[in-house]
């Protein structure tokens, strides 16, 4: 098992290096891409600041708390993009039939399709984000226990994000008609940019447990602020595990539908 993990880490590192070198070969493009993301991040931040300055609260949360929700959303979103960038390049492989080459390699096809091409450009934005989170969190006075739960819930969020990406991969095989399923996931995830308390039932219930955007984006921050019971935290881990299980089942089903067209 240890040997297997070592092998997969080695493969991951190699693929990540290749992906980074490919990004570096197009420096100007990468620069614009990163710039666009940073601008979007800062404009939304400004929006929250000016909005909350005018209204004092959003769904009962003050500026500091809303900002913490926003930064947590970005942390999960950016780490997901860093880890699962290969998903964005998956559909052309199915259309061209070059996915055959992935299937015939002695590594897990899901591992290659999900994690085989991490985006180091996204990685650079994570440390400043963590610093901003620490800075904002100082005003929230969390307990050590809340901080530990928050970190564990961020891992749970990444499991849910991985599951979403696996669903996207599976859909890419099952139907060739949709070419931006991953962008639909991004739009869904964007619903968690602000605390999900802004939504009304039944939408709030749907995005908390059925499509667990709330569990992924809002719950870690709410736990950090001591605003949820321990039972809900446990429930969210169950949701994460179940979602991962279902996504892998779906991936296995989708593989049986792969027709190797155009290859």
């Amino acid at each position: 098992m240890k040997k297997k993990i070592k092998k997969y880490f080695k493969v991951w590192w190699l693929l990540t290096k290749n992906s980074f070198m490919s990004a570096l070969s197009n420096r100007l493009g990468s620069f614009f891409f990163l710039l666009g993301k940073l601008i979007r991040f800062f404009i939304y931040m400004l929006f929250i600041v000016f909005l909350l300055k005018g209204t004092n609260s959003l769904a009962g949360y003050n500026l500091n708390q809303t900002m913490f929700f926003y930064l947590t959303f970005n942390l999960v979103d950016i780490i997901s993009q860093f880890l699962f960038r290969e998903v964005y390049r998956f559909r052309p492989q199915i259309i061209e039939g070059s996915f055959d080459l992935v299937l015939s390699k002695p590594i897990n096809a899901l591992f290659k399709s999900l994690l085989g091409g991490a985006d180091l450009l996204d990685l650079f934005t994570i440390p400043p984000l963590i610093i901003a989170l620490i800075f904002v969190s100082r005003g929230l006075n969390p307990s050590i226990f809340s901080v530990v739960l928050y970190i564990l819930l961020i891992f749970n969020s990444l499991i849910i994000a991985a599951s979403f990406h696996i669903f996207v991969l599976g859909l890419g095989i099952v139907t060739l008609e949709i070419d931006h399923t991953v962008m639909i996931y991004r739009d869904l995830a964007n619903l968690g940019r602000f605390p999900i308390d802004i939504y009304k039932e039944p939408l709030k219930g749907v995005i908390t447990f059925i499509i667990p955007i709330g569990t992924m984006m809002t719950l870690p921050a709410k736990t950090f602020m001591n605003l949820v019971s321990f039972n809900v935290v446990i429930m969210s881990f169950v949701v994460g595990g179940l979602f991962l299980f279902l996504s892998i089942k779906f991936w296995n089903f989708a593989l049986t539908k792969y027709s190797s067209a155009s290859s």
């Binding site: 197009n26 100007l28 493009g29 614009f32 891409f33 710039l35 666009g36 993301k37 601008i39 979007r40 404009i43 400004l46 929006f47 000016f50 909005l51 005018g54 209204t55 959003l58 769904a59 139907t175 008609e177 949709i178 070419d179 931006h180 399923t181 962008m183 639909i184 739009d187 869904l188 964007n190 619903l191 940019r193 602000f194 308390d197 802004i198 939504y199 009304k200 939408l203």
Partner: protein, 267 residues
């Protein structure tokens, strides 16, 4: 005229060829509106309160207005221009007995017709589901000025997107980058299509108003909502017309320079 009608028909057929894809694209637009609807509903949970000069009815009208106006202004096929220049297929278009600008403008119109039709249906569905309070403008002068600002917005977007896509003449490998930045910065924010620009302090607003971008979405919506006086509206229309002329002249100039640079590589 007849050939442009054919272009319109063909473009509509092309859009329909990938029906599910198109529907998914529309779903994405609706989701953005849903997010903003709930955000502002939460802010204006007390219907008697006013923030940033909006009451609940006006802000929700703004959110729904975004869906329709974005369909009219931002639906475009001209965004493909950068790819056509980069891969050399521009050469094929140049050989055709058709005016290149009119061709793309007509293709844009087809895209706008389709997107507008869908956005109206979506608005009706969301209206039934969410039951928002909507502001109806009844002053004919405001309605006329709103229509005029919308026409200018469509033309302004066309020349702007044409201009930035021509960056591909000089940097074909990153030709997508400027349109990408434009969509992120202008399409999402500076046009007011995510949130109204008047939540920002006065200084910011003055800077925004001197740029061409608020005239794409924010300004027409301000007129519709009757939030600005008639003289301010006319002033805004003059500024946006000024930008339209400047960008129009620039498009012609850069197009001429670009064609000299173009070598039809890649065909």
């Amino acid at each position: 005229m007849k050939k442009y009608l054919q272009v319109l028909k063909i473009t509509l057929q092309q859009e329909f060829a990938y029906r599910l894809n198109f529907i998914m694209w529309r779903v994405r637009n609706v989701m953005q509106v849903v997010l903003m609807f709930f955000l502002w509903s939460s802010v204006f949970s007390d219907p008697t309160k006013q923030f940033f000069g909006y009451d609940r009815t006006k802000i929700l009208t703004y959110v729904f207005g975004i869906l329709v106006i974005k369909a009219i202004v931002f639906s475009s096929r001209t965004i493909e221009l950068s790819g056509i220049i980069s891969d050399g297929t521009l050469g094929i278009y140049l050989l055709k007995p058709i005016n290149f600008f009119k061709y793309w403008f007509t293709a844009d119109m087809a895209s706008k017709i389709l997107n507008l039709s869908f956005s109206l249906v979506e608005t009706a569905i969301l209206f039934i589901l969410l039951k928002p309070e909507i502001y109806f403008q009844s002053n004919p002068i405001y309605l006329l000025l709103f229509l005029l600002s919308l026409i200018i917005a469509v033309l302004l977007f066309f020349v702007t997107i044409f201009l930035i896509n021509m960056f591909s003449f000089w940097a074909p490998e990153v030709g997508w980058a400027l349109p990408f930045l434009f969509i992120v910065i202008v399409g999402d924010f500076l046009s007011g299509s995510v949130f109204p620009l008047d939540i920002f302090p006065r200084t910011f607003q003055n800077i925004f108003y001197s740029l061409p971008f608020p005239y794409l979405v924010f300004f027409p919506l301000q007129i519709y909502l009757g939030k600005i006086s008639i003289p301010t509206t006319i002033n805004g229309i003059v500024i946006s017309l000024g930008w339209l002329i400047i960008f129009g002249v620039l498009v012609k100039y850069v197009w001429g320079k670009g064609l000299k640079k173009f070598s039809a590589e890649g065909i």
